[in-house]
């Protein structure tokens, strides 16, 4: 019980500063800055041009939303592999809404997309939480099912930019004071999620559940309910990402977002979210998403053929988990020393 002492004011300030320097996220931020600086030195247009700056902020926003949802689920020691399929379905639904209900308000489309994603997440969550089957298996199944529904629904049909209202498509590239609207939405979601997980009781309980589901249950936490909500949030964010996807790219076919699940998990892992739950932050996952996308854009500029980008992503993921392992080993050695003295 000695470990749980309330931090004093000075302690808190010191640990705040030291915490920032030592935080896992700072490393990712540093890597991100290095990539951006290196690419900019080689070609100043990477940042210092209208398109360059906009792309830098805009492109990762959709993955960021999905990665934040994924991080929340992974923190509870689960995983959601169906996010790519959820995103695809929601993106196609968005297009269909504009075609089948001409004049539908954009805000309604957003709400329907989020709600729809939430329902798909609820299906995942209910199966995982009530049937007590590992999330990996369930969401692997729903990955197939959701994608299958999407293909059955869309067939070889494709939603084109001309099917959607101009004001909606404009959202995909619109800016408020140099900052793209998509980025603002993503950052707003990130801020809320980050605050909630850090400061709210339910948020902290997600970490407790991920650290040891059995202990959390014995302690009286509502494990089933919390896990369910985590999946619903993850689905809803994938749904929102789907709506933004169709606004950003203008064309949606039945394969939209396929493979996104691995990028989202990759982003979370790179950002320091432990794959077996209980630790990590949505900030890290967001930085991971930014790093993934920015590296993709930076590689051709740095003279690496973009065919190699997946290899770099893989190396990055492995580097990140090896680093996490080394940090954890050092930490446990320190704790053992502290205990023995």
């Amino acid at each position: 019980m000695t470990t749980i002492t309330a931090p004093t004011a000075t302690n808190r300030l010191l640990s705040g500063l030291g915490g920032f320097a030592k935080a896992r996220e700072t490393g990712i931020l540093l890597a991100l800055v290095i990539v951006v600086v290196a690419a900019t030195v080689k070609n100043p247009n990477f940042v210092f041009s209208n398109d360059g700056f906009r792309d830098l902020l805009l492109s990762p926003s959709i993955l960021l939303l999905v990665a934040v949802g994924q991080a929340i689920v992974i923190i509870t020691r689960n995983v959601d592999l169906s996010v790519g399929s959820t995103l695809g379905l929601s993106a196609y639904l968005t297009g269909r809404l504009f075609i089948d209900f001409p004049g539908i308000p954009i805000i309604a489309v957003f709400l329907i997309g989020i709600l729809f994603g939430g329902v798909l997440g609820l299906v995942n969550g209910a199966l995982v939480a009530f049937a007590r089957v590992p999330a990996l298996v369930i969401t692997l199944g729903t990955l197939y099912i959701y994608r299958g529904i999407n293909v059955a629904w869309a067939g070889s049909d494709r939603i084109n930019a001309s099917d959607m209202p101009k004001s909606f498509l404009a959202l995909g590239t619109a800016q408020v004071l140099f900052i793209p609207v998509l980025t603002l939405i993503a950052v707003a979601v990130l801020l809320v999620a980050g605050w909630y997980l850090r400061n709210q009781r339910a948020g902290r309980e997600l970490y407790a559940i991920g650290s040891d589901p059995g202990a959390a249950h014995l302690y009286g936490l509502k494990v089933t309910q919390r896990v369910l909500v985590a999946f619903v949030v993850c689905g809803a964010l994938a749904g929102l990402a789907g709506v933004l996807y169709s606004a950003r790219y203008g064309t949606v076919n039945s394969q939209a977002g396929s493979g996104f699940e691995l990028e989202a998990v990759g982003a979370a892992v790179i950002g320091g979210v432990a794959i077996f739950g209980g630790s990590g932050t949505v900030w890290g996952a967001a930085l991971g998403a930014y790093l993934l996308f920015t590296i993709n854009r930076a590689l051709p500029i740095l003279g690496v053929q973009d065919f190699w980008q997946r290899a770099v992503v893989g190396a990055l993921i492995i580097g990140a988990i090896v680093l996490d392992r080394l940090l954890a080993l050092r930490q446990s050695r320190k704790l053992v020393e502290a205990r023995d003295h």
């Binding site: 049937a131 692997l140 199944g141 299958g148 892992v269 190396a315």
Partner: protein, 341 residues
């Protein structure tokens, strides 16, 4: 002490049932029954299903999945997972293609490709057993890494020029029958894997590790070495599957067999292997692969589009795991009163 005695006696009662009952009332036989039902229904109701050519194409199509499912079964029974198999297959395919293109005889190039596969598996094994990282995270990383290397080596080009003899052999059939020759390779490997898993000390060790790695360690099983060997095997057999695929379609490409890992894992889990490890049988897995393959082929012939097949695959996977946990729950409810006595 009564609490300890109760579950023990229950376990004995389960195993005291006659052999025929244990074989009939098992997860594996349920998959076999489903497989036979699908074959009967499809033969009666789907035109052209009960023809030799359907059988040939069905077996050729699922051959890579059958091959990779063998080591994957062993890996999952130890409680680990290998998501990188399809990427290893692609890497082997590209290795074969580039080496052959640069003038190396096909046989030698195939040998090198197998070595590359084994090396890729060894990298997975090293990171998981020596560095001590979770296999889920490691193989998500190497999934991207190996795929990236494969795509990076060949870019968007494909090598299509292979020795005629091997191309014909990959597609050939056994004598006058409709069964492809590759089935012989699969059958030999399946028998070897089944013997290793079910009738050797090494195989018993695999189950023991899956039930409790710690207990297995204390009973003298070399946990890390066993896992390492299994990941090398997984890489080796995946490379073999990649080589077969390359020769069958005479095309070595970086994006060969993308997404195959999910099909393999779905089939293995459908075949009754527990994702938690410690439980499963190779016969069930083979039936699981055949079930998914047969169902897909029957649906395709009934001109149901491939998307519905995805929905069916996903639903089967979820139904199979949910039914297991529902049965376990009923079993627990039923035997609960006995505990109170």
């Amino acid at each position: 002490m009564t609490q300890v005695a109760a579950p023990t006696s229950r376990t004995y009662r389960d195993y005291a049932q006659p052999l025929w009952r244990r074989i009939l009332v098992s997860r594996e036989s349920a998959v076999f029954v489903a497989l036979i039902l699908v074959i009967i229904v499809a033969s009666v109701s789907v035109k052209h299903f009960a023809t030799p050519i359907t059988l040939t194409y069905l077996l050729l199509d699922i051959a890579p999945i059958l091959l990779i499912a063998l080591p994957m079964t062993l890996v999952i029974i130890t409680g680990e997972i290998d998501l990188s198999v399809a990427s290893v297959a692609a890497l082997a395919s590209v290795t074969l293609g580039t080496l052959h293109q640069s003038g190396m005889p096909l046989e030698l190039a195939a040998l090198v490709a197998l070595v590359v596969g084994a090396l890729a598996g060894a990298i997975n094994g090293f990171l998981i057993t020596v560095v001590g990282l979770p296999s889920l995270a490691v193989t998500i990383g190497t999934l991207a890494l190996f795929r990236g290397l494969a795509v990076g080596l060949l870019g968007t080009t494909a090598v299509t020029d292979f020795t005629e003899f091997w191309k014909v052999l990959a597609k050939s059939k056994i004598g006058a029958s409709a069964i492809p020759s590759v089935v012989i390779v699969i059958a030999v490997l399946a028998v070897i894997f089944a013997i290793v898993l079910h009738f050797t000390r090494f195989g018993r060790g695999i189950f023991a590790i899956g039930l409790s790695a710690e207990a297995a360690h204390f009973s003298g099983i070399q946990v890390e070495r066993t896992k390492f060997i299994l990941f090398v095997l997984s890489g080796l057999v995946s490379a073999l599957a990649g080589i077969f695929y390359t020769l069958r379609f005479s095309s070595a490409r970086g994006d060969n067999q993308t997404g195959l890992e999910l099909a393999v894992i779905a089939a293995v889990l459908l075949g009754g292997v527990s994702i938690f490890g410690g439980r499963g049988a190779l016969a069930g897995v083979l039936a699981g692969v055949l079930l998914i393959g047969t169902l897909g082929s029957a649906l395709r012939l009934a001109s149901v589009t491939s998307d519905v097949i995805n929905i069916v695959t996903g639903s089967l996977l979820i139904a199979s795991v949910v039914s297991t946990s529902v049965l376990a729950w009923i079993h627990k409810k039923r035997s609960a009163p006995n505990h109170n006595k």
